[in-house]
C-alpha cells in the first residue's frame, strides 16, 4: 500500500465531520491527498486562518474498529512523504527505514497518516501558497504559527478520517514536539506517544542556530523582504547557507570525522584558495544546493520560528509535569547519545515530568555516533526498542500482534 493514493476508509461507515471540509487535489507534482477546512483555525498569534489546506499521505489500511492509526509527525524540513519515492527529489521517503510492510511501523498492521505541517511548503497552507484575498503567495503576510497550531490542524484531519483515538503519535525532533503537544492537549485521543530526539522546549542554543539560518536567508538580496515569488527570484544562496549550518547540528564530530576526516576533494594538495578543498566542504555545499530545490525559504523562517516558540511547560504554569497530569497515554521517550541538538538531558526532562505524574513511560538512550540524524537512520537497537514498545501497546489495545 506504500504511496497508495487513496485512503482506505470504508465508504459505508459514518465519518464525523465537525466542520465543512472537502478533499482536494494537489498540484500534479505533489501526489497524495489534501483536506480543505473551511472553518478558520484560531491560531496562537490571534489570527483566524481559513480556509486552509492540509496535504497528507496515508499508508496501510484502517481497521474496522479504527483502532490501528498511527500519526507520524515530520521534522523541520520533512514532509508528508514518509515512505515511497519522494515526488520532488525522487529519493526514498524520510522515514523509509521505519515505514513499510513488515517494518517497525508496519503498513500491513497499522494505518499510517503523515501530514505536511501548517506553514510547510509541500501542499499544506503556508507562506508559499496563495493568500485567497490577494491571489498572490502569502510571503511574510502569513501569520506566525506554532507547534500547537500545527497540531490543531492535524486534529481536523484526524476528525475527517473518522478516527476517535490514535493508536500512536510519533515523530523525531520537531515531530517529537508535535507528539508532546498532542499528548498534552488531546490525551484522550492518544493511546501511545513516542517522542524521539526532542525537547519540551527549544533551548537557547537551538534558537541561536535557527536565528543564524534565518539571518542567512534574509541577508540574501533575492529574499526581497519575502516577496521573491512575485519578483521571480529565489534566495537560494541564503537558504543553502541556512541548511549548511543546520546540517552540521544534525551530525556529530565523530560522525563527520569518520565520514570525511580531513580528506581532500578530487585533488592531491591544498589549492591555497577558497574552493571546496575538503570533502566535508563539498558535502555541505551539496546539502545546501539540493535542499533549495525542495524547500521554500519563507517556510523555513516560519517553521524554525514555531520550534523556537515551543515551550510546553510555559503553557502549564511553568511546570512541565502539569502538561501531563492525569494522562493515561503510554509513553516511550527515545534519545541518542551523540545528539547534541536535542541531547539526552532534554529528553530525560520529559521523562522526569512524566514520572512526576506517575505516567506510564519508558525511556531508552540509544548508543550511536550518528548525532541527531540517528532517528532517520538504520539503528537496530532503536528499531528493536520501538517495535517492542509498539507490540506491548498493541497487546494492551487489543490489536493483533504476530
Amino acid at each position: 500500500m506504500l504511496g497508495a493514493p487513496a485512503t482506505c476508509i470504508p465508504e459505508t461507515s459514518p465519518v464525523p465531520v465537525p466542520s465543512p471540509v472537502r478533499e482536494s487535489a494537489l498540484r500534479p507534482e505533489r501526489p497524495g491527498q489534501a483536506l480543505v477546512v473551511e472553518e478558520p483555525l484560531a491560531l496562537d498569534c490571534g489570527v483566524a486562518l481559513g480556509p486552509y489546506t492540509i496535504a497528507y499521505q496515508t499508508y496501510g489500511r484502517l481497521d474496522p474498529e479504527r483502532a490501528n492509526a498511527i500519526l507520524v509527525c515530520h521534522a523541520l524540513t520533512g514532509d508528508q512523504y514518509a515512505a515511497g519515492r519522494h515526488p520532488v527529489t525522487g529519493k526514498p521517503g524520510w522515514w523509509e527505514t521505519l515505514v513499510g510492510p513488515g517494518k517497525v511501523l508496519d503498513t500491513e498492521r497499522y494505518f499510517l497518516i503523515c501530514a505536511n505541517v501548517l506553514g510547510g511548503c509541500m501542499g499544506s497552507t503556508g507562506p508559499l501558497e496563495p493568500n485567497p484575498r490577494t491571489g498572490k503567495p502569502w510571503g511574510l503576510g502569513f501569520p506566525v504559527i506554532t507547534v500547537a497550531d500545527m497540531v490543531r490542524a492535524q486534529v481536523k484531519l484526524i476528525d475527517h478520517l473518522g478516527i476517535e483515538s490514535l493508536f500512536c503519535v510519533t515523530g523525531g525532533s520537531m515531530g517529537g514536539m508535535q507528539v508532546l503537544q498532542w499528548a498534552a492537549s488531546f490525551p484522550e485521543r492518544v493511546f501511545a506517544a513516542v517522542p524521539i530526539a526532542t525537547a519540551a522546549r527549544h533551548s537557547a542554543q537551538n534558537i541561536a542556530f535557527h536565528e543564524v539560518g534565518r539571518q542567512a536567508i534574509m541577508a540574501d538580496p533575492n529574499w526581497a523582504q519575502g516577496n521573491y515569488h512575485e519578483l521571480g527570484r529565489r534566495p537560494e544562496r541564503g537558504l543553502a547557507v541556512a541548511r549548511m549550518a543546520a546540517h552540521i547540528t544534525y551530525l556529530s564530530e565523530p560522525a563527520l570525522h569518520r565520514k570525511f576526516g580531513r580528506n581532500l576533494q578530487d585533488r592531491d594538495q591544498l589549492t591555497y584558495g577558497f574552493d571546496a578543498d575538503f570533502q566535508v566542504e563539498n558535502y555541505l555545499r551539496h546539502q545546501g544546493i539540493s535542499f533549495v530545490e525542495r524547500f521554500d525559504a519563507n517556510s523555513y523562517l516560519y517553521i524554525t520560528r514555531a520550534c523556537d516558540y515551543f515551550d510546553l511547560a510555559a503553557e502549564h504554569g511553568g511546570v512541565l509535569a502539569n502538561a501531563f497530569r492525569g494522562t493515561r497515554t503510554r509513553f516511550c521517550s527515545i534519545s541518542f547519545t551523540s545528539d547534541w541538538l536535542y541531547p539526552t538531558a532534554e529528553n530525560r526532562a520529559i521523562v522526569h515530568a512524566l514520572n512526576a505524574v506517575a505516567a506510564n513511560v519508558s525511556f531508552v538512550e540509544i548508543a550511536t555516533d550518528k548525532g541527531h540524524d540517528a532517528f532517520l537512520l538504520e539503528e537496530p537497537e532503536f528499531f528493536a526498542t520501538l517495535r517492542g514498545f509498539l507490540d506491548g501497546c498493541a497487546r494492551h489495545r487489543g490489536l493483533a500482534v504476530p
Binding site: A358, S362, G388
Partner: protein, 216 residues
C-alpha cells in the same frame, strides 16, 4: 532471560531468583509496582503475566532497559540516587529495591524516597554480618567474596554494604516502619530466624524487608 531473548523462562516462579520469588509472593494482584534496578525486567514480566500488575521499571544498564522495553515493559533508564525525587508520594502500591541498596550513593535518602513513593517498599540486600564474611575478614584480612557478594572489591558496584542490624537501626532512625522481615539463605530461601536478633545477623546471608513510611 533465555538465549533467544524471550522472557518465556520466567513463566514459572521457580525460575525467578530466590528473593524475587518471595517478592512476587508478597505483592498483591492488580497492584501498581515500581521495580528499581529491574535488570531485564524478569520480575515485572512475571508480575504482569501472573498477577495483573501495572508495573514500571528503572534500570541503570542500557542493555537491561532496552531488553525490558523490547519486551513490552515500561522501563526507564535511571538510578535510585537521581530519579526517585520526581515521583509523587504514594504513586505506587509497592516499590521494590532488590539487591541494589548497597550500590546506591545515599542509601538513607533512597529508603526515605521508597516509603514516600510507595505505600509499601520491599527491600532486599546481602547481609554483611554473615559469619562467613566475618570469618574471612578476620582470618584472611581480605574483603570477602561469597556466592551472594561474588565480586572482588575493585569490581563490585557495592559501595554501602551493611548488616541486618545496621539496616534495622537505620529504619528506626528514619522512623520507617518494618512491617515484615524475612531472612534468606544464599539461594534466597526463607530462614526461620527472628530477623532483628543477633543470630539472624550472624546466620542469614540475605534479608528482605517490607517497609512503610512512619507517617501512617
Amino acid at each position: 532471560m533465555s538465549a533467544d531473548g524471550s522472557l518465556g523462562s520466567v513463566d514459572r516462579p521457580a525460575h525467578l531468583r530466590g528473593d524475587l520469588r518471595l517478592v512476587a509472593e508478597i505483592i498483591e494482584p492488580g497492584s501498581r509496582v515500581l521495580d528499581i534496578g529491574c535488570g531485564e525486567g524478569e520480575l515485572l514480566a512475571f508480575l504482569a503475566q501472573h498477577k495483573g500488575v501495572d508495573g514500571r521499571g528503572m534500570e541503570l544498564s542500557q542493555s537491561g532497559v532496552n531488553a525490558g522495553v523490547r519486551h513490552g515493559l515500561s522501563v526507564i533508564q535511571g538510578d535510585a540516587d537521581h530519579d526517585l525525587e520526581d515521583y509523587p508520594s504514594d504513586a505506587f502500591d509497592y516499590v521494590v529495591l532488590s539487591q541494589t541498596l548497597p550500590a546506591t550513593r545515599r542509601p538513607r535518602q533512597v529508603i526515605e524516597h521508597l516509603v514516600r513513593i510507595g505505600r509499601r517498599a520491599i527491600v532486599s540486600f546481602p547481609n554483611f554480618g554473615h559469619w562467613r564474611i566475618r570469618l574471612r575478614l578476620l582470618l584472611d584480612g581480605r574483603m570477602p567474596v561469597t556466592p551472594v557478594l561474588s565480586q572482588v572489591w575493585y569490581e563490585t558496584p557495592n559501595i554501602h554494604l551493611c548488616t541486618i542490624t545496621d539496616f534495622v537501626a537505620l529504619c528506626e532512625e528514619t522512623r520507617v516502619v518494618i512491617e515484615r522481615s524475612v531472612t534468606l539463605d544464599g539461594a534466597g530461601l526463607p530462614y526461620r530466624l527472628n530477623p532483628r536478633g543477633t543470630l539472624a545477623n550472624l546466620l542469614a546471608e540475605q534479608a528482605l524487608f517490607v517497609l512503610r513510611g512512619g507517617r501512617n
